[in-house]
Point group: C2
Chain length 333, copies 2
């Protein structure tokens, strides 16, 4: 790679000091028209671009945001990321995406980016605040998305999972279902805990059995496996509430494989409203999460915090709504 042009080169060619070049770039109105033209010409000639590292080191900030995602291969995150990215760019920030695989070590490595002044703030999609690998850490400016970190007061943007689950169950009850099962996520997952709690409460309020729960791991395959287990029971449920869309698709696959129909024999509800939920066959009744908006909002909050505004003390709860489509129908008689 050819030697990079520095501010020094530009200054020499323009016949001015480096301070003047810097000013011509940063606050042009402070520089005389004549000088400015010389500098512009020199920049043009050399193709100079300021070294951002040097600038940042001097300015003590980076305009960079680290986004921690447990699994970037999961389509649930991509639209949230797009929302984050949009607001970030609009405010002159760039985003750095860190794939953590739920590995605390990797999470801390990325968080160190912020500690190491490589980034100004953190966006957490992984449901866990960095703990400094056991070493004490002062948390950098951050916002938590989607997840809820218990016993913390970190700024948070999310939906009300409990409430959304209640809506879903109510929909099934209104359709006449009495035997309603759940395919939930891993029991340690706070999202699933909230969703199951909301579902259970609504079932109990209606005098129905709330204990038919099989746990999966959010994957399509685990949804299928869970459904298989439910079908083994002599009196299988007539409706299933799944903690995400992938598991719902796996469940539907399995129901069809068993020679039953959706929603004729069994109704299925998902959660998230992925892009593919609507084109699935049957198109999936599911809880719509405003994913893009979640990303936009969270990034907006972080921008405010970085601008010195006080962080919101209450979680920002965005609306989620049940999208009724073709995978749910009246309970079979």
């Amino acid at each position: 790679m050819a030697q990079k042009t520095t501010i020094e080169d530009v200054a020499r060619i323009a016949g001015v000091s480096i301070a003047t070049v810097s000013r011509a770039l940063g606050k042009p109105d402070v520089v005389s028209r004549d000088t400015r033209d010389k500098v512009t010409a020199a920049i043009e000639q050399t193709g100079y671009t300021a070294n951002a590292m040097a600038r940042n080191l001097r300015r003590q900030k980076t305009r960079m945001i680290v986004v921690l995602v447990p699994n970037i291969g999961n389509p649930f995150f991509s639209e949230i990321l797009a929302g984050i990215e949009e607001v970030a760019t609009a405010n002159g920030y760039n985003i750095l995406i860190g794939n953590t695989d739920n590995d605390p070590v990797r999470e801390n490595n990325f968080a160190n980016f912020v500690q190491g002044n490589q980034a100004d703030g953190l966006l957490l999609l992984n449901g866990r605040a960095p703990d400094g690998n056991g070493r004490a850490v002062k948390l950098p400016p951050l916002v938590v998305l989607c997840e809820r970190i218990p016993d913390s007061e970190l700024p948070t943007v999310r939906i009300d999972n409990d409430l959304a689950a209640q809506d879903a169950i109510r929909h099934l009850i209104e359709l006449g279902h009495r035997r309603i099962a759940q395919i939930a996520g891993p029991p340690v997952n706070i999202l699933t805990v909230d969703r199951s709690r909301g579902a259970a409460r609504t079932l109990q309020a209606a005098g129905l059995d709330a204990d038919v729960v099989v746990n999966g791991d959010f994957s399509i395959a685990s949804g299928a496996a869970a459904m298989r287990e439910l079908l083994r029971r002599t009196e299988h449920p007539t409706a299933v509430f799944c903690s995400n869309d992938e598991m719902a698709m796996g469940a539907i696959q399995e129901i069809k494989a068993a020679g039953l129909t959706v929603p004729g024999d069994i109704s299925v509800i998902g959660f998230d409203d992925l892009t593919f939920a609507e084109v699935y066959d049957p198109s999936l009744t599911t809880v719509h999460q405003p994913r893009r908006l979640i990303g936009e909002t969270a990034m907006g909050v972080l921008v405010d915090i970085l601008a010195g505004k006080p962080a919101p003390t209450e979680p920002i709860v965005l609306g989620a709504e049940l999208r009724v489509r073709a995978s749910t129908g009246p309970a079979p008689v």
Copy 2:
């Protein structure tokens, strides 16, 4: 935020020079055991993390890679990104994802990151090399993924789209289909050009009409619209080759809506093999792109280039294979 700990603080507490602290961190074996312990203790006490910007400025590199993606909301990219990320991390690089929305201005902004020494290299998923907004640029170390940039010799990792399309069409012909249509992408898109060319050539070789092509924009909706148009013709095709999975799903949706069946009346082939292709109903026959491998390979090539090895002069072509599933079947009699 409290004042950050610097190397100076650590040095003072440990009672050594900053040079020694730096060495204790970077090449511990050069430092005496005794001194090393003192430094370690001071670091422990202060929670010191080196300022990466200062280090990078000094070292003149960043260990950061910029990945340009046209649309991060598209699930096609997420698995490629996961592959990139994995190899990057394994080699001590971090990745910065830039969402370009196919906007050349944004592409150049991100590319400037590399010019501005904020990143060491570039990974291009957007099918276009930065042009410096008209200003001359010397391209940074980069690798092109999936796409093919005509008239350039940039290092490239991709599949053979032409060949893959041939396989797909051959599969349909073997099933007895004679009226085979294409739902292609935007005519300017090089991917679609290659795929259409391969398809057309195979059709012609079999003495079939290769001119039944409707263009979409890779979205589900455009696939549906294209299919609607094909169905309007009195003699609609018995098989459709789509340039990606989303359009294939849109097409299938439309076929079902018209009261026809897949593959009973019309067979449909997609391209890419997204995660959801397999659970779609009918599960989609499609061309499998080894997306994770593409990401891993490209990042590997970039690591080599950054390590000073010569860039590959020939494109690296990875195998794509037709996954025959339930959306294709014998031509109706």
